[in-house]
């Protein structure tokens, strides 16, 4: 009897043990399943994340293609109406549906290149000053930061200042040299633009000049060259392509600049007679007339201006970036 009881106890305890064992097994299994599930979830999250990154990167490409496509599609009407002669048509008369972009292209080129000519000595001086003469110290730091702030001031503020301060000065200057004292015009906008584009060529020039290997410069010094001779015959030739890239980037900025130019250029669709005459740039025409364009061909002609502007700035920027890349490698 005793044994049977014992047996009973044993079998019972066995079953309890068994149950315990199975329950831990189950728990382990459950844990395992959970772990698998969690890692599944993590893998899924990881894949979702990777896919999101790819989609976002694709989206930038789609965005640029979309911009280009929109401009092309919306300007087809004007492309069909006036064809390629649009670019050198001399008359822009929305009332008679004659659209020639020549006055604006001329205005854009005049303002941009004049601004470039004015700004190049200054931006190169900043580049040489910061890159060669005084690369360190608080004076250099202050100058560098201040020049960078020039690019930070909103263009509408440049325009307002130009309108209130610069235009009267230019007007009295024009009266002195004996041209029509309008004040508003290509000359005023070039002056404003020149100030605005200084930082681009300057900061690029600085970093390029700093990259000139010092053994080249030292070799020139050891041959007895003065500082100016080192700059002229070592640094400038060595950084030629980089400096040119800086000029291109500045030019790209100048071509696309809208607000400051719109406010001081005078806004007429006539071909400017000289650099003091009022005119219009491509960007300023769009800014002024886009919301007033009351029939489809007019609107489309304005968009074609935008397309030309887009293509030109893209090409200029691409060449500039290529040059920088070629230089830094």
């Amino acid at each position: 009897m005793d044994t049977s009881i014992d047996n009973n106890v044993i079998t019972r305890s066995d079953s309890i043990l068994e149950r315990v064992i199975t329950s831990t097994k189950i728990r382990d299994a459950v844990k395992g399943i959970k772990r698998i599930r969690r890692s599944h979830r993590q893998i899924r999250a990881e894949n979702v994340f990777r896919r999101t990154l790819v989609i976002v990167a694709l989206a930038t490409v789609v965005l640029v293609l979309g911009i280009m496509l929109t401009l092309i599609v919306q300007s087809t009407l004007s492309l069909k109406a006036s064809g390629i002669s649009y670019l050198w048509g001399k008359v822009w008369d929305p009332v008679r549906d004659i659209f020639g972009a020549y006055p604006f292209i001329l205005g854009t080129l005049l303002t941009s290149f004049l601004a470039l000519f004015i700004s190049i000595p200054f931006s190169f001086a900043v580049g040489i000053f910061l890159g060669e003469y005084y690369p360190k110290g608080w004076v250099a730091n202050l100058l560098k930061n201040t020049v960078e702030l020039i690019a930070a001031v909103p263009s509408v503020i440049y325009g307002f200042w130009g309108l209130a301060v610069l235009v009267p000065i230019v007007r009295s200057f024009e009266a002195k040299i004996g041209v029509d004292p309008v004040g508003l015009g290509i000359f005023s906008s070039s002056l404003i633009l020149a100030v605005m584009i200084i930082p681009y060529a300057a900061s690029l020039g600085r970093s390029m000049i700093q990259m000139v290997p010092s053994n080249l410069k030292e070799a020139a010094y050891s041959l007895g060259a003065t500082r100016w001779e080192v700059i002229r015959s070592v640094i400038l030739p060595y950084t030629k392509s980089g400096l040119f890239a800086g000029i291109l980037l500045s030019l790209g900025r100048a071509l696309g600049e809208t607000m400051a130019v719109t406010m001081v250029i005078g806004n007429t669709s006539l071909i400017p007679k000289n650099i003091f005459a009022p005119g219009n740039t491509m960007a300023s025409v769009i800014a002024n007339e886009f919301t007033e364009a009351d029939h489809p061909v007019y609107l489309s002609a304005l968009i074609e201006l935008g397309l030309v502007l887009f293509l030109v700035t893209v090409v200029i920027n691409m060449i500039g970036k290529r040059l920088i890349k070629g230089f830094t490698n």
């Binding site: 993590q42 990881e46 979702v48 990777r50 790819v54 976002v56 990167a57 694709l58 989206a59 930038t60 490409v61 640029v64 979309g66 911009i67 929109t70 401009l71 919306q74 000595p121 200054f122 931006s123 001086a125 900043v126 000053f129 201040t146 020049v147 960078e148 702030l149 020039i150 930070a152 001031v153 909103p154 263009s155 509408v156 503020i157 440049y158 325009g159 307002f160 209130a164 100030v195 200084i198 003065t226 500082r227 100016w228 001779e229 696309g256 600049e257 809208t258 960007a283 800014a287 886009f290 919301t291 968009i303 935008g306 502007l309 887009f310 700035t313 893209v314 200029i316 691409m318 970036k321």
Partner: protein, 281 residues
């Protein structure tokens, strides 16, 4: 010293002096502009100016509350779109340096950076203003977010490329999944650079006018409906500065002063951050 050597040294010194003069003279217009705008604007700014609507022509006084609110809303929405998008794109570019998509994406970001702002305005007009049937703040925000995007992408990419690879490898070795490595390790390490990129982006779009001309359009009244035209600071400055009325010029000077101070502070603040964390942008 022979006269020839003297002449060469003199030439060198002359060039140095010329460089110094030219370099410092290009700061002069900036200082003139700053002083002029602050002088003309600071006297116009008071509580009344900040909290009231512009008055119609002929009445003096009035404020720019609608433009301040509008600018904040438009920039806020633009940031909401551009910041996540830009950071994710920057992460992709820094994680997949060599892939074909990264090459094209980088190219497109470069292109976007150079696109004139007025062109982006045109595009936003056809994408949003026409389909939605009217000028709206949202379309302005989208246009501005496109302008902001390249700056954020670039700064994120540059910052993340600077981080040592060992950081990521250590995290991967602990068995962290990819997204957690990026979000919990890489981003926090590069947050200062990313943040300064974001702030530069905000500073750039805060003063942008051209893309808003045909999108947000401007509105003389206080409006919080993002599907309706909305005023913004740069638009107000442009419209009032080119008007012939002196009262409106006064408003525009005050607004210019506020815009200028706000943009410059953002830039200076960014500079301080980047200097503290030694981030190169």
């Amino acid at each position: 010293m022979s006269p020839h050597v003297k002449y060469r040294i003199g030439k060198s010194t002359g060039f140095q002096i010329l460089t110094v003069i030219l370099a410092f003279s290009c700061v002069v217009p900036l200082i003139f502009i700053l002083i002029y705008i602050i002088q003309a604007g600071i006297t116009k700014i008071n509580w009344h100016f900040l909290t009231n609507l512009p008055k119609p022509v002929g009445e003096s006084g009035g404020g720019i509350a609608n433009a301040l609110l509008g600018s904040t809303i438009i920039i806020g929405i633009a940031s909401l779109i551009a910041i996540p998008f830009g950071i994710l794109c920057g992460i992709y570019l820094s994680e997949n340096k060599k892939s074909k998509l990264a090459y094209w994406s980088r190219l497109c970001v470069d292109i976007l950076q150079g696109v004139p702002s007025i062109v982006i305005g045109i595009v936003a007009y056809f994408w949003l203003v026409k389909p939605l049937g009217g000028f709206s703040a949202v379309s302005g925000s989208v246009a501005l977010s496109i302008m902001m995007l390249p700056i954020i992408v670039r700064s994120t990419e540059e910052t993340l490329l600077l981080l040592p690879d060992s950081l990521r490898e250590a995290a991967f070795a602990l068995g962290m999944p990819f997204h957690r490595v990026i979000l919990k390790v890489i981003i926090p390490c590069g947050i200062s650079g990313i943040l300064s990129g974001v702030m530069l982006g905000v500073a750039r779009i805060a003063g942008e006018t051209a893309p808003l001309l045909f999108t947000a359009f401007g509105n003389p009244y206080l409006s919080t409906n993002i599907f309706k035209p909305m005023q913004s600071l740069p638009l107000l400055i442009f419209n009032y500065a080119t008007s012939p009325y002196n009262d409106w010029h006064d408003l525009a000077w005050g607004a210019s002063c506020i815009l200028l101070i706000w943009v410059l502070l953002l830039n200076i603040f960014t500079k301080l951050i980047t200097r503290k964390w030694k981030v190169q942008l």
